[in-house]
Amino acid sequence: MCGKAVMEEGCVSDALETTEIVELMDMRARAYGMLARLYRVEVDDEALRELQSMRFPTATGNAAVDEGYRLLYRYLSSAWDDSITELAIDFVRTYIGHGVNGYSAAYPFESVYTSERRLMMQEARDDVLRTLRANNLKRGRWSEGEDHVALELEFMQRMALRTAEALREGGEEKAQQAVATQLEFAQNHLMNWLPMLTRDMKVFSRTAFYQGLAQLTMGYVEEDTALLAELLGA
């Protein structure tokens, strides 16, 4: 783990520490990529096999992360071919649900949780879109609102990769700016509604898999936000 204020100007000159930060950013990118994938679409056979090849840490220091890993392990250790169907059903039950009143599922859009009438495409989506544009990003094949949790997690992944790339090229200021962008985004968006989304995931999902994913996501983003703040000496 990098020391406090390591990203501050003049502190990244230590080659070992820079390497550590690059590794850390790559690791964060993979973690956010994994989470984004699991929110984006249902688990398929390939994804199930990947998940079953994971190692599940038992004591990370964050209770929510540990519980998330424990639940994922519990489900995946007895998962077999039919589990793909079971997970697909639970995906729909959790994120789409029945009913049109805005309270029938854990809707994966920030706007639903941050607008007065729980509608999609509200202020939060506009703000995410502005952030994407400000960072020279646009949606590619994505056809839903930009404030979908998968896209927000993918944004963190992309920015972590940029940070690592900037550090490799010696662009410390650019890297610092990318970390600041991630911290701001995590604080203003992810941490603003993930507690509500993950709480609802626990209400609507029936498999230990999505229960665990909720815990893991909340715990990981919480820890990561603190880490980003620490890196910036905030």
Partner: protein, 265 residues
């Protein structure tokens, strides 16, 4: 072994384009088309809205009744459903069962996957799923961190219940055939005899059976076509569709003497 952070280098999927061009996203709508606060939600849905399976022992009174109802309402899948029960008499690995079901259905494709068929039988009380014991042994500390890991994907065993085997035995003895063909369709005995006799000689196309059936005066009033006899013989497991032709099954062959016996009587 990869850890949690070494996955998902998903190169194919690219939600973000990074070419510098800005997205032409439209303005979000501020209209509020629905005011639906009175609709029930899953959280407060009445318990009766939680539907259980249709053909279950609880709903049908017994597992045997549930299995018979399941078969009655899925006539096109009777053969494969009963074959599954037969294969699972002494337990059958899921992978092996899937292979056998796919093989059996190659001339009679179904939208149901092999596991969906097994789940249907499980809900009706004809099968039980046996999940192997999973070791939750914790790995030795590696690099100061303890992990849990999954050694291999399990391959559960499906096993037939006594109720499932009992219904299968009933059908294998031709009870449905005797009831429907020999009793309720007694008036058409000579037609069945001709159709089954022809299929005993060789597999036949539907057009052949249509012509054969049409030659009998009894099918003129009320009008009966070849499809009627094919339906009932298939429903009673006496014939099956395979390789673009109708075949007499083993059960159908066993029933032939009964059909012919009647002629001698």
């Amino acid at each position: 072994m990869a850890d949690a952070y070494e996955l998902w280098d998903d190169e194919e999927y690219e939600p973000f384009d990074e070419d510098g061009a800005l997205a032409g996203a439209g303005e979000p709508s501020i209209d509020d088309p629905f005011d639906t606060v009175d609709f029930p939600t899953l959280r407060n849905m009445p318990p009766e809205m939680n539907r259980s399976g249709m053909y279950t022992p609880e709903r049908m009174g017994s597992a045997e009744n549930a299995i018979r109802s399941l078969l009655d309402h899925n006539p096109a899948r009777r053969a494969v459903l009963m074959s599954i029960v037969g294969w699972c008499a002494d337990g059958c690995l899921t992978s092996e069962l899937s292979r056998r079901v796919d093989e059996l259905q190659q001339d009679n494709r179904s939208v149901y996957s092999p596991m969906t068929l097994c789940r249907m039988l499980e809900r009706a009380g004809a099968l039980v799923l046996e999940l192997p014991e999973v070791s939750t042994k914790q790995e030795d500390p590696a690099h100061g961190v303890e992990y849990l890991e999954i050694k291999e994907r399990i391959d559960p065993v499906w096993r037939s219940t006594p109720a499932g085997l009992s219904v299968r035995d009933e059908l294998a003895q031709g009870l449905a055939f005797r009831d429907l063909v020999l009793e309720r369709e007694k008036a058409y005995r000579e037609v069945y005899r001709a159709v089954m006799g022809a299929l005993d000689e060789a597999p036949r196309a539907k057009s052949y059976i249509d012509e054969l059936v049409d030659a009998f005066p009894i099918v003129q009033h009320p009008r009966r076509f070849g499809g009627h006899f094919i339906d009932l013989l298939e429903y009673t497991d006496a014939i099956e569709w395979k390789g673009h032709a109708w075949h007499l099954t083993d059960l159908g062959r066993e029933m032939l003497p009964a059909v012919r016996q009647d002629k001698e009587d």
